[in-house]
């Protein structure tokens, strides 16, 4: 049981890493960010008002593509601000809602 539990935790983390990578790749591709590689984006880094300097128009564009690629519905209200705070929070939102 312990082995199974550890195996599940390990796989949950892997899925999460893959998912975070996919989110980073999507951000760079969709927003056509020049000179930014997906691996340069920090999991916990602030997406908006921070290093990447994304704004609400970028958020709208991201939401549309995230919905389509990951088959989730992104929230349209204040929850959206929290969901979009970082790559980690976007990935967590996707995992929780798909």
């Amino acid at each position: 049981m312990l082995v199974l539990g550890l195996w599940l935790i390990e796989h949950a983390r892997e899925a999460s890493v893959e998912l975070r990578s996919a989110v980073k790749e999507l951000i760079v591709r969709v927003l056509q960010l020049e000179g930014v590689r997906p691996e340069d984006i920090e999991d916990q880094g602030r997406l908006f008002g921070g290093g990447l300097g994304l704004d609400s128009v970028d958020a709208l564009e991201l939401a549309i593509h995230i919905e389509e690629q990951f088959k989730v519905k992104m929230p349209e209200d204040e929850t959206a601000r929290q969901a979009f705070a970082s790559v980690a929070s976007i990935a967590a939102y996707i995992e929780a809602h798909r």
Binding site: Q32, G49, D55, E61
Partner: protein, 395 residues
């Protein structure tokens, strides 16, 4: 495909349809009222029409290459290059003089084995498959109207409806001595926005260009066709800069009531294609693209395909243009397009250019449809913040 098809109209749509049908084994008769093609509007081609040009073997090397479009208003302008589109298959198109282009299409259709009859259509009995013309009766398993905006068959069958929201009129002509100015690249179409509507300048090379104005109802432009066009040019410093010293070389051609759609595009024994099925507005040069793409799809649908699915796809593609055309007349397009370059988003330009290129039929291309849907919202953001949000520090 064992069928006799009679097609009204040997313009690009009719000839493309005839060519595609001949390849499928149908017997095709094209009926054309005008022996010598005229310099009609519908001169600015879109990159996505190249699918049909290539499949039908049209050699476009005699025409002016068009790499993009310039939109301007009151001395401000923006240029979009077709290379900015989403995964573009073609990054350029052409500006065509229709009296040359239409002759070329007729030759393509003839070589494909279409019979071309010069006659005026007088009456039709769709159930009997009989088209009565000035040169006698023609019979077909299916009669297809590709005869353009007069929507002859659709009107006869009482299927044609004008539009409640778009009731524009137009005046077109040609000028020589037309200049490229500022951001114009050779071969670009230029659209000059004015309070009364907009002016088009379509260059053919050597300073010759198609020039015209599309006017909204109740606009300030009145009088003869000449007075209205000159009045329009007087409203536009952008048009004046390009037409300064230019000379008009053709009589004016006037058009009105051109926005219309048929309630159905086919029946058991008839079909409609091109402007004869639906025409929206010339502002994004979508007419010929829709006609050619419609012709390609119709030939497949008639050859054991699905006519309902064909009409659906046709209307879907047209509806994407319809949205952007409505956004144009609501001023959303220009508001968004004129955001200064340093504040503009590359993906917004990508969505706009994909639309300008006519990429409305490929389900894999998300950006054009998404842009058509979001344009009003994005324009509202620009109006509220003056620029797109991050420019003034507002996230």
């Amino acid at each position: 495909m064992n069928a006799d098809v009679v097609i009204l109209g040997a313009g690009p749509t009719g000839c493309a349809l005839g060519t595609y049908l001949r390849r499928r084994g149908a017997s095709v008769t094209l009926v054309e009222a005008v022996e010598r093609p005229e310099s009609v509007v519908g001169e600015s081609m879109l990159p996505c029409s190249s699918l049909v040009f290539e499949e039908c073997g049209l050699d476009m090397s005699r025409y002016m290459v068009k790499h993009g479009a310039v939109f301007c208003r009151n001395g401000e302008g923006v240029r979009f290059d077709f290379s900015e589109a989403e995964a573009p298959q073609w990054t350029y198109a052409w500006q065509v003089q229709r009296e040359v282009f239409d002759l070329q299409w007729r030759e393509v259709a003839r070589q494909a084995g279409c019979r071309l009859v010069f006659a005026k259509a007088l009456d039709v009995d769709v159930d009997q498959g009989r088209l009565s013309t000035s040169e006698g009766d023609l019979f077909g398993d299916r009669i297809i109207d590709a005869g353009g905006r007069q929507m002859w068959l659709s009107s006869k069958l009482r299927l044609r409806a004008g539009d409640q929201n778009l009731r524009n009129s137009a005046v077109g002509t040609r000028y020589s001595g037309v200049k490229s100015v500022g951001i114009d690249q050779p071969g670009d179409i230029t659209i000059c926005s004015i309070p009364a509507g907009w002016i088009w300048i379509i260059p053919f090379g050597g300073g010759l260009a198609s020039v015209g104005v599309v006017m909204t109802p109740n606009c300030a432009l009145k009088g003869t066709s000449e007075e209205r066009l000159l009045g329009a040019i007087a409203m536009s410093p952008d048009a004046q800069a390009r037409l300064d010293g230019a000379t008009r070389v053709l009589p004016h051609r006037g058009l009105q009531d051109f926005t219309a759609t048929s309630s159905t595009f086919y029946g058991d024994k008839f079909a409609l294609c091109g402007d004869a099925a639906t025409f929206i507005d010339p502002v994004f040069s979508s007419g010929v693209l829709l006609g050619l793409h419609g012709a390609r799809g119709l030939a497949a649908a008639l050859d054991g395909g699905d006519l309902a699915a064909w009409e659906n796809e046709y209307r879907e593609g047209a509806s994407v243009f319809r949205k952007v055309i409505d956004h144009w007349y609501a001023d959303d397009f220009m508001t968004l397009a004129l955001v200064p370059a340093q504040y503009q988003k590359p993906y917004i330009r990508r969505g706009i250019v994909s639309l300008l290129a006519g990429d409305v039929f490929d389900p894999a291309k998300k950006s054009p449809r998404s842009m058509a849907d979001r344009m009003p919202h994005l324009a509202a953001l620009v109006r509220t913040h003056g620029l797109l949000p991050s420019a003034d520090g507002h996230a």
